[in-house]
């Protein structure tokens, strides 16, 4: 029998029994809906991680020399923590040798950061902000744009002048309704003059990037950021092209190994962190999330399959006479089998299509009301619909084969 004929027949059946069909489809529909929603959110988070979050934390063609990685996502072994804890810190004295070893044209920056309370005379009590003491080409590497005022001058950086460049949140909190440039804020009991305001950096997973204050590394604030004043948190390096990354990293490693007096057999007791190394964990977690995103809806699909199988068995019983008529008129076993298989597949594909639509809706809803981003992956739509059809065919096999095996005489006799 013609394929299209069977689909038309199935759609007619669905139309004729709307409520029953709806309940039949519910399982598959919900399964596919959650599949699409979960995959969309995982996919959205992935895109976000790669493009926005890590990209913001670690710039293009950049790496960071740290005593231990600052982006640690996931289940860290206690022994790893223990080893991190015993590592020597980086000191400001390490900066010169490292920088000298870098290829020509390389940008570098030093940064120490911590959270400290800041205040101004224009607002209430002190508020915490992310304070960074920086040196070198920090703003260029991070591609921070100053929308008001100016960058630090070389003299300010060298002399440690008490000046600051602040983020939009700090402007709003400390200088509400005022122009911040030229005004004073206080950190660690000392006044600092605002010389620049940064463009908004947005936020990630609900954390704002705009509650930041930058000061020259040499300014007094650096003493408050770490236990020992000369400690620095990171040296950031940006090479002109991606091909120079490996070599620059290797040179930095060698300098640091020498400075830390490591024997060849000893492992590094410092970290060279790149965007890729920070993403490694995300990629691991993403695999689990996608797996969970497929495994959990799969339960829904299994329930859906059982429901469809049941409904199809009922349909075969209800339509025994129809099967008898069709057989009397010349339907072969294969014709009846195909008819019921396609009916089951059509039912569940309609359910899956509905689930895809609802899943996209759910993903958009979640990303609208929560900080989780969502991106609908075309492959997940295809997988969703294919799963639906597959579930229908699998759950249709048994009822359809029962229908095809019916004896036409007995089937015709049924009332």
């Amino acid at each position: 029998m013609l394929f299209i004929e069977a689909i038309r027949l199935a759609l007619n059946t669905i139309r004729a029994q709307k409520l029953k069909s709806f309940f039949t489809l519910l399982g598959v529909c919900i399964g596919v809906m959650f599949l699409i929603a979960v995959v969309s959110i995982v996919e959205g988070m992935g895109r976000y991680m790669e493009k926005d979050l890590i990209g913001k934390l670690i710039g293009v063609n950049s790496f960071e020399l740290r005593h231990r990685p600052n982006i640690n996502m996931g289940d860290m072994d206690p022994s790893v923590w223990e080893e991190y804890r015993r590592r020597p810190r980086l000191y400001h004295d390490d900066v010169r040798p490292v920088v000298d070893a870098l290829p020509a044209g390389t940008r570098w920056a030093v940064v120490s950061d911590n959270t400290l309370p800041i205040s101004s005379r224009y607002s209430g009590g002190p508020r915490n902000a992310q304070i960074s003491a920086v040196e070198g080409d920090y703003f260029a590497i991070r591609r921070f744009v100053i929308v008001e005022g100016r960058e630090f001058t070389p003299q300010e950086l060298e002399m440690g002048t008490p000046v600051v460049i602040i983020g939009q949140d700090v402007v709003k909190r400390l200088f509400p309704g005022l122009s911040a440039v030229g005004r004073e804020l206080r950190m660690g009991g000392l006044p600092y003059t605002v010389v620049g305001v940064l463009e908004s950096q947005g936020s990630a997973i609900g954390i704002s990037f705009d509650n930041q204050v930058f000061a020259p590394w040499q300014s007094p604030v650096h003493r408050l950021l770490n236990r020992v004043p000369q400690i620095i948190d990171a040296v950031i390096v940006q090479v002109p092209t991606a091909s120079q990354m490996t070599e620059a990293q290797e040179r930095v490693r060698q300098v640091m190994r020498t400075r830390h007096k490591l024997r060849p057999a000893q492992p590094d007791n410092f970290s060279v962190q790149t965007a890729e190394s920070a993403l490694e964990f995300w990629n691991k977690i993403k695999r689990y999330l996608v797996l969970a995103g497929i495994a959990l809806p799969a339960i829904g699909l299994v329930v859906g399959a059982i429901v469809i199988m049941n409904i199809m068995l009922v349909a075969v019983a209800e339509r025994t006479r129809e099967i008898g008529i069709r057989k009397a008129l010349g339907a072969r076993r294969a014709d009846i089998l195909t008819q019921f298989l396609i009916e089951a597949a059509t039912l569940s594909t309609v359910g899956a299509a509905l689930g895809v639509a609802l899943g996209i809706g759910l993903a958009k809803l979640i990303s609208a009301v929560s900080p989780l981003p969502a991106t609908v992956a075309p492959w997940s739509v295809a997988v969703g619909v294919a799963l639906g059809a597959g579930v229908g065919i699998i759950s249709g096999v048994y009822p359809a084969s029962r229908a095809s095996m019916l004896d036409p005489i007995a089937a015709l006799r049924q009332e």
Binding site: M1, L2, I4, E5, N12, T13, A16, R321, E322, G324, I325, R326, K327, A328, L329, G330, A331, R332, R333, A334, D335, P408, I409, L412
Partner: protein, 275 residues
């Protein structure tokens, strides 16, 4: 072994019928649409063997209009199922249109039913959710005809039973007589060798019954082979030959005139024969 005499075969007595069987004992020729030789059908009803047919020999020529009669339990339904290729005999041979169908498999039988047999049932057996047109299209669907051609052919068939105006109505929007006419259109749409009717008037009032009988009559006049199973003598009387079954065997095989003579009193009592 494959020759038998062409021409008029007398069928009025059991002896003559047996003579025909003897003649057609070999491979039946083109003129004989149905030939059965000693077909038996036994059912195993929970260990007890029920002999529904105990060796039936029937030969039916092309263009005959035959009624198969008998009381319930006589085996006429079983015989109809066998003739209609819905079932296969436990023993014996059945030749349909020169083809031995008694040993065929399910799917081959389905093909034969589709091509050679047009069923008309007592309860019409139309698909309730399909329109008249779609019901008539069904055999063509299984014959593998294209949708467009199917629609045209089915519409023509409905036109022949004067139901063009009701083409898009569903069975529950049609009267009993109209439903049976749809069923007849469906039975004929594939141009089958035989029109096989099982109690075609069983669910109809007497006036509608006569109408349907007229349709059968005119089909027979046009050369359609018609086989009708019934337990009503006045309906059987419309046929030109009546085969009576009793206890799974043929008890009589009479031409119409003789049948009318024999059963005149009974038929007159029921209100006579029209046509």
């Amino acid at each position: 072994m494959s020759q038998f005499t062409e021409g008029e075969v007398p069928l009025s007595t059991t002896a003559e019928r047996q003579a025909v069987t003897a003649q057609t004992g070999a491979t039946p020729g083109r003129d004989w649409v149905i030939v059965t030789r000693g077909i038996k059908r036994e059912y195993d009803m929970g260990g007890e063997i029920v002999r529904a047919l105990r060796g039936v020999d029937i030969a039916i020529r092309r263009n005959e209009y035959v009624a198969i009669m008998g009381p319930s339990g006589s085996g006429k339904s079983t015989l109809m199922n066998l003739i209609g290729c819905l079932d296969t005999p436990s023993a014996g041979e059945y030749w349909l249109n020169g083809t031995l169908v008694s040993s065929m498999k399910d799917d081959e039988l389905a093909r034969i039913r589709n091509k050679e047999i047009g069923f008309v049932f007592q309860t019409f057996n139309l698909l309730p959710r399909a329109t008249a047109l779609h019901n008539v299209e069904l055999p063509l669907v299984y014959a593998g005809m294209s949708a467009k051609q199917r629609r045209e052919t089915a519409a023509e068939a409905l036109d022949r039973v004067q139901l063009t105006s009701r083409m898009h109505h569903k069975p529950n929007e049609l009267s009993g007589g109209q439903r049976q006419r749809v069923a007849i259109a469906r039975a004929l749409v594939n141009k089958p060798s035989i029109l096989l009717a099982d109690e075609p008037t069983g669910n109809l009032d007497s006036q509608t019954s006569q109408e349907i009988m007229k349709v059968f009559e005119s089909l027979a006049d046009q050369g359609q082979t018609v086989i009708m199973v019934t337990h009503e003598q006045d309906i059987a009387a419309h046929a030109r030959r009546v085969v009576a079954l009793h206890d799974g065997q043929v008890s009589s095989d009479t031409r119409r005139e003789r049948f009318l003579e024999e059963h005149a009193s009974a038929i007159v009592a029921k209100g006579g024969v029209v046509g």
